[in-house]
């Protein structure tokens, strides 16, 4: 159909839809007088409109709003015990739950650990079993650039938690800026991160949420990847390999994550690419005006990012 004709059809259709059924025939008789083709076109679309009902296309293909987690809070736990660990301090909290610094309370050794409480309801035996299984896989990751998962369990209230190596460091992008690293140094740092990801991929573990805040660089200059595979175990309801991560901002997410499609090792490689882009150019591959999850979703899935070489020149 030609543009002009469609504009004519849709104007009549629009008016007909908002006209009450009783007056519709009279309206159409008048509007389509002498143009039988227009009348049959509008009649046909009116039927489609009715058949489409409330259902057709009304549930979005991807529920982007689900990417943003709710922010209700759990009670403060400082000073309390979780398993054999005594909570000392809160390190951070986010969409996933809270993170605390803790020490073993049974005096077996006084190493500090990070405890992550995850906010999901694991109320079926199947999900509890899966949580345990995933934890075992993650606990087997033993690499100098991956924060170790020591232990895990479920609190008295049924909240699952993970006990991890406590890493004190700076997110990789901030570290590079603060230490004024040159390109070679940045690449050397990044290569170590890639080696850690490769190590995990060889063991069929996908990170799913690679971003600068999950790559901390210690005072000694050693990059450590946090939360390997955690995005999967904290979202068991999302199911298997199709799980969508729920980042606060999907800036580092891959198109398949945005679309809720199966996640593979390539998902991590995509996120690594975004991190590298940021380390080399100091900018995000997406326009600075991109802020809301749906704007990111559009750019990630549809736009071709500016070449890093071009981005660098735009001071």
């Amino acid at each position: 159909m030609k543009t002009e004709r469609w504009q004519q059809v849709r104007a009549v259709l629009d008016e007909a839809i908002s006209t009450r059924a009783a007056g519709r025939a009279a309206y159409l008789n008048k509007k389509c007088a002498g143009d039988a083709e227009l009348r049959s076109e509008v009649d046909s679309l009116l039927r489609s409109h009715e058949q489409a009902g409330d259902e057709f296309l009304n549930s979005p293909a991807v529920d982007i709003t689900s990417l943003v987690p709710d922010t209700d809070k759990m009670p403060r736990r400082i000073g309390r015990r979780i398993g054999v660990y005594q909570i000392e301090d809160e390190i951070g909290h986010g969409g996933m739950g809270e993170v605390y610094r803790a020490v073993r309370a049974d005096g077996q050794y006084d190493k500090q650990v990070a405890i992550k409480l995850v906010r999901v309801g694991l109320d079926t035996p199947y999900l509890v079993e899966r949580f345990r299984h995933e934890r075992q896989i993650l606990a087997s990751l033993d690499h100098p650039n991956i924060a170790r998962l020591h232990d895990g369990g479920t609190t008295e209230e049924g909240i699952p938690y993970l006990v991890m190596e406590l890493i004190e460091g700076t997110p990789i992008d901030q570290y590079c800026e603060q230490h004024n690293l040159d390109i070679t140094e940045r690449l050397q740092l990044f290569t170590q991160v890639c080696a850690a990801v490769q190590y995990a991929h060889q063991r069929l573990v996908i990170h799913r949420d690679i971003k600068p805040s999950n790559i901390l660089v210690t005072e000694e200059g050693v990059p450590k990847l946090l939360d390997f595979g955690v995005a999967k175990i904290v979202d068991p309801l999302g199911g298997a390999e199709t799980t969508m991560i729920r980042p606060m901002t999907p800036e580092y997410a891959s198109p398949e994550q945005i679309r809720g499609e199966p996640i593979t090792t390539a998902t991590d490689v995509y996120s690594l690419g975004v991190v590298l882009y940021k380390l080399l150019t100091g900018k995000s591959p997406y326009p600075e005006t991109t802020r809301t999850p749906h704007e990111f979703a559009r750019f990630i899935c549809e736009a071709e990012p500016t070449k890093p070489s071009t981005a660098v020149l735009r001071a």
Partner: protein
């Protein structure tokens, strides 16, 4: 979209499409609309009225509300609503035709 097309091509006997046991039972079930046919229809709609096709993209593919769609496109919410309703009727008919 590319993924959907690849998937469809494989059903016609193209490349083997690997699905692990884990994901086989758990494909995303966002919609039972034929996404590939919808994409084709949207391209035709874009030729007749590009604003209407953008409204459908934002509302259906990006999951935006009427109000957010209006803000992104810089048009009024009532215009979005009219664009949406007539586009939806047209797309319904197109998809109905393509499936028969």
């Amino acid at each position: 979209m590319d993924h959907a097309r690849t998937h469809r091509a494989s059903k016609r006997g193209g490349d083997v499409y690997k699905v692990s046991l884990d994901e086989a039972g758990d494909q995303p079930q966002a919609t039972d609309v034929d996404i590939v046919a919808l994409d084709d229809a949207l391209k035709n709609l874009a030729e007749m009225d590009s604003q209407q096709s953008k409204v459908v993209e934002l509302k259906f593919f990006a999951g935006l509300s009427i109000e957010d769609t209006a803000e992104v496109l810089g048009i009024s919410a009532s215009t979005v609503k009219r664009d949406w309703i007539t586009a939806r009727a047209w797309l319904y008919r197109e998809l109905d035709r393509s499936s028969t």
